[in-house]
Amino acid sequence: MNERGPMPESAEERVLRENLSVRALSPEALQRIRQATEAEWRANIEPARRRWIPYAAAASAVLLALAGTWSLLGRGPASVSGASVARLERADPAGVVEVLRLWRDAKLNVGQEIRDGHDFASRGATLFALHGGGNLRFAPGSRFEVVAGNTVRLDRGEMYVDIPPGSRPSQSFVAITAAGEFRHVGTQFALAVVDGETRLRVREGSVQWQAADSESTVEAGTEVFIGRDQRVTRRTIESSGSYWAWTQSMAPAVDIENRPLSEFLDWVARETGRKLIIADDDTRRQIATIRMHGDVHGLEPLQALKAVVASTSLHVDLPAGAIRVSFAGGSPASPR
């Protein structure tokens, strides 16, 4: 039973003041939201603009001239110049467009290739599979140019590069921003450009950063922030958690049918940035022998883990930065 009397007004105001104050969205978050919102705004106002044109006699002539110029200068939505570099695997409904002249942005469909020498704007989150191995993911509001088969220039927004060790033995991958070149060395890393400032976060492996007058290696668990004045700030970061959350919604599909459970667990660990801990040797042996049946397409890594766990006698804990797997008593049953 509560023995306190009515709360004095000052106490109730204290409760409100202390609990209604919230952490503001970071400038970076606001910038990302601004880019995505602005892209959507532009996409929605253009038809309105065009509706006015037929009513202006003078504008008709402009339209005709425009149409002529269009065909001369524009590359067209079905542009196939340049070498194919990657394939669009997945995109949020807002999608990704190839940026063409005279506002002729052409929306890309899943399965379509992107080619070097072309500019793209990712309005929603997107996933591209790189030819030769690995994948690229772009946050909403990103703008980038495919410079060459192994090089992408990020103009704004955020890009996640996932190139598993050994998957591109003959070709390195380079990302370019105003702060220099970032070359993968068996890596997962995220590169963001906001207002001309670059932020590199290395999740796994390392990244060679080549600036105008220096070169350095950035190891996993490090964030490097390079200001417009080229001032560099470094700090330690975790490989899992909210920094990387957006990348999981665009994780490449994993095929589990008749695949070993151990392979699937490795995939979840890699996608979530968590260390995989197998409780004991017995569990390790059991996991190595289990093969899975079914489909987890469309599920984010932890959702997929949940779905698979539900069909086994596995027990999974998620301590900070890790996935711990054990069998919840007795011998394991085969999943689905």
Binding site: R4, M7, E13, N19, L20, L25, A36, T37, D317, A320
Partner: protein, 191 residues
């Protein structure tokens, strides 16, 4: 700021109007979503982004019957409700996530404030209770309390934001506080 005029200019493609709109509302919407949910920073960013995108898609439906921010808040509430529904449909998933993904928020607060983790737990519980109480109030009461105690606006500033007189803002604030006190005391009595 004439909000209908602002929307009209945005619909005509006026970049300045878009900038004015975004600068005026995006951060406030972030605070609104954070106060009305227990989502982490990344999820709040997603909610605000989807709210703004939906607002851009539905700009033509804004008729000025309410303030622009009230209209945005309603879209934001729908986003939050969608998330709650999705979570409710996946109860097991939530329990798996809860083991880890909801912890970092407390950790972030702890790292920035350097407070004792035990104090942090108590703060989280109280924050949740206040959120619950605020959500139980009529929306105009919740809004005015947020402006006064969350955004720390003065009464004249609140009047300007809500487009009401200073005395109306004052009396509405008193009634909102009384309503909150009633809900809060009920909760305290139940403990």
């Amino acid at each position: 700021m004439d909000e209908q005029d602002l929307v009209l200019r945005m619909r005509r493609g006026d970049q300045q109007a878009f900038n004015q709109f975004f600068d005026a509302y995006a951060a406030r919407l972030g605070a609104f979503a954070a106060r009305r949910s227990a989502l982490d920073a990344a999820a709040i960013e997603d909610v605000v982004q989807m709210t703004m995108i939906n607002a851009m898609r539905g700009l033509g439906t804004f008729r000025g019957g309410s303030s622009l921010f009230t209209w945005l808040c309603q879209i934001c509430r729908n986003q939050l409700a969608d998330i709650r529904r999705k979570v409710a449909r996946q109860p097991q998933m939530q329990s798996l996530e809860q083991m880890s993904e909801e912890k970092p928020l407390a950790k972030v607060i702890q790292l920035t404030d350097f407070r004792d983790p035990l104090d942090e737990c108590a703060t989280d519980a109280e924050r949740g209770a206040v959120r619950h109480a605020i959500n139980a109030l009529p929306s105009h009461y919740a809004r005015i309390l947020e402006l006064r105690y969350g955004d720390e606006l003065t009464v004249p500033e609140i009047g300007r934001v809500l487009q009401i007189s200073e005395s109306a803002a004052e009396s509405q604030l008193v009634r909102a506080r009384q309503a909150f006190r009633a809900v809060w005391q009920e909760r305290e009595a139940a403990r």
